[in-house]
């Protein structure tokens, strides 16, 4: 509340504070995110080929086991305390791919292990990833609904 009408003093101070604030190195971060994110995708592609090659998956169907494997790997990395260091270095590069989702789930699960399995792990596991699932499913539903309606009406 009350944040909307800031006093003159607050504005003055905030502009003074801005002067000293260390800026995020946006360009450098973007580059790092691009490279590390690309590296993750390279691994993902290799796993996709692995599934196409040795199992009965086509390019169409290999996506599912690949995602599962990538999440599994990120869970291992999280458990061994490596993923948060990668995250600090790569930023969006490691947060945006599906591995970031795995990390969000398992890090919360590890964090609340001390509160027991039901209220701790079970209750808090999706405290970060839960909203991703909720809004992901919801927006997918809306998009599918629009597409269905458009097809029904013969627009597309």
């Amino acid at each position: 509340m009350g944040n909307n009408n800031q006093t003159q003093k607050e504005k003055q101070y905030q502009s003074l504070e801005k002067k000293y604030e260390t800026k995020r190195p946006v360009l450098k971060n973007c580059l790092k995110a691009f490279l590390v994110g690309g590296l993750f995708c390279l691994v993902g592609q290799a796993i996709t080929y692995f599934y196409i090659y040795f199992f009965n998956f086509t390019e169409q169907t290999a996506g599912n086991p690949t995602v599962a494997t990538m999440v599994f790997i990120s869970m291992l990395l999280t458990g061994f305390g490596v993923y948060d260091h990668i995250g600090q270095f790569a930023g969006a590069g490691s947060a945006v791919p599906v591995t970031g989702f795995g990390n969000a789930v398992i890090s919360a699960a590890i964090e609340h292990r001390t509160e027991g399995f039901v209220l701790g792990v079970g209750g808090n596991m999706f405290k970060l990833a839960g909203s991703v699932i909720l809004f992901g499913v919801f927006s997918a539903f809306i998009v599918a609904l629009i597409k269905t309606l458009l097809i029904q009406w013969g627009v597309i």
């Binding site: 944040n3 101070y13 260390t22 800026k23 948060d84 919360a108 001390t114």
Partner: protein
């Protein structure tokens, strides 16, 4: 005795007779590792939760202070301590172990000086002969309380600060004409200052006005010049907060030499440790002041110092409700006599 608007002087000069400082593995790699009495190799400290580990830190710091003073715990009248975790429970549990009459205080990262000011005041007026005061924080417990899970791979901005795993405890006793000991001479209680900053990843910037406010009030109340002190040391303003506070003080007309204006959050870790802007946490100022700074005072490096511990009084709830960060700072002056 009240002096000026919001300060106390302690004419009977209560003595900080012994201190105990404990820390974790990350602090052991820092610049001040020699000044810790107890350093743990394991972040869990043999406990099954980080909150319990923080309890251990506090207990050990208190025990060390008692051992150094050759005292038993039932000789201490009061324990004044606090921390940052859920209703200061880690401190409460250590108070249970220590079996002392207990005053729990909350001042976020300013708890250390809030406790020292209160302890000095009570001791100065014969409210007690011995008071143990201190504060503690644990990196992983703090992260869990205020930020993301420890292993979450989010990128912290360069303004973020690293919570110290550590505790500091000081035993304050009534002065019996002792010489060559550190004593507390005055204290200034700060007021809550909030200039509308909302970013919990930039605590230093939010706390700077509170620190400046308290420092200005201190010199005004006591009618002193900044040159009176050999060192003015802030709690955990870190890189950004220190620079901002320095400029605010200059604007107020306080001329302080830059190297006499230091910050605990910038002293505890090595430059190559990945702590972004610097250190923070209730244990930060306690560990640095009760360890490193008092050691240096005893070695004669400083004769008179002013410690200004700063605290951001936010909770995860107020942050999520988009409230700004209310901040506070308390100052205590420590002198060698």
């Amino acid at each position: 005795m009240l002096i000026g608007k919001q300060s106390w002087t302690f004419p009977n000069k209560p003595v900080i007779t012994a201190t105990g400082v404990s820390g974790g593995p990350f602090e052991a790699k820092g610049k001040l590792s020699k000044d810790f009495d107890i350093l743990h190799e394991d972040l869990w400290m043999g406990q099954d939760s980080y909150e319990k580990a923080q309890r251990v830190l506090m207990e050990e710091a208190a025990q060390t202070a008692l051992e150094k003073a050759n005292m038993k715990k039932d000789e201490v009248q009061f324990l004044i301590a606090g921390d940052l975790i859920n209703q200061i429970t880690p401190t409460t549990f250590s108070a249970k172990t220590l079996e002392m009459p207990y005053v729990g205080i909350f001042g976020a990262c300013s708890t250390s000086m809030e406790g020292l000011a209160l302890a000095s005041f009570i001791v100065n007026y014969q409210g007690a002969n011995y008071i143990l005061t201190g504060s503690s924080s644990h990196n992983a417990a703090n992260e869990k309380q205020f930020r993301y899970p420890t292993e979450y791979g989010g990128q912290k901005p360069p303004t973020a600060q690293w919570s110290v795993t550590g505790a500091g405890a000081a035993l304050v006793k009534a002065n019996q004409n002792e010489k060559g000991v550190p004593v507390t001479t005055s204290a200034t209680i700060g007021k809550v200052v909030d200039l509308g900053l909302t970013d919990p990843f930039n605590m230093g910037g939010a706390m700077a006005p509170a620190a400046a406010d308290t420092i200005v009030a201190h010199f005004k109340d006591l009618k002193l010049e900044p040159s009176y002190y050999d060192l003015i040391i802030t709690g955990d303003l870190a890189k950004i907060g220190r620079d901002v506070t320095y400029e605010l003080l200059q604007k107020e007309g306080l001329q302080i030499e830059r190297e006499k204006f230091q910050d605990c959050g910038l002293m505890i870790y090595n430059d190559d440790q990945p702590v972004q802007a610097g250190a923070s946490g209730a244990g930060c100022s306690a560990a640095v002041v009760y360890g490193h700074i008092l050691n240096q005072m005893k070695q004669g490096v400083y004769k008179r110092i002013l410690v200004v511990a700063t605290g951001a009084l936010l909770s995860p709830l107020t942050y999520q409700q988009k409230e700004s960060i209310p901040c506070i700072a308390h100052a205590v002056s420590i002198e060698m006599v």
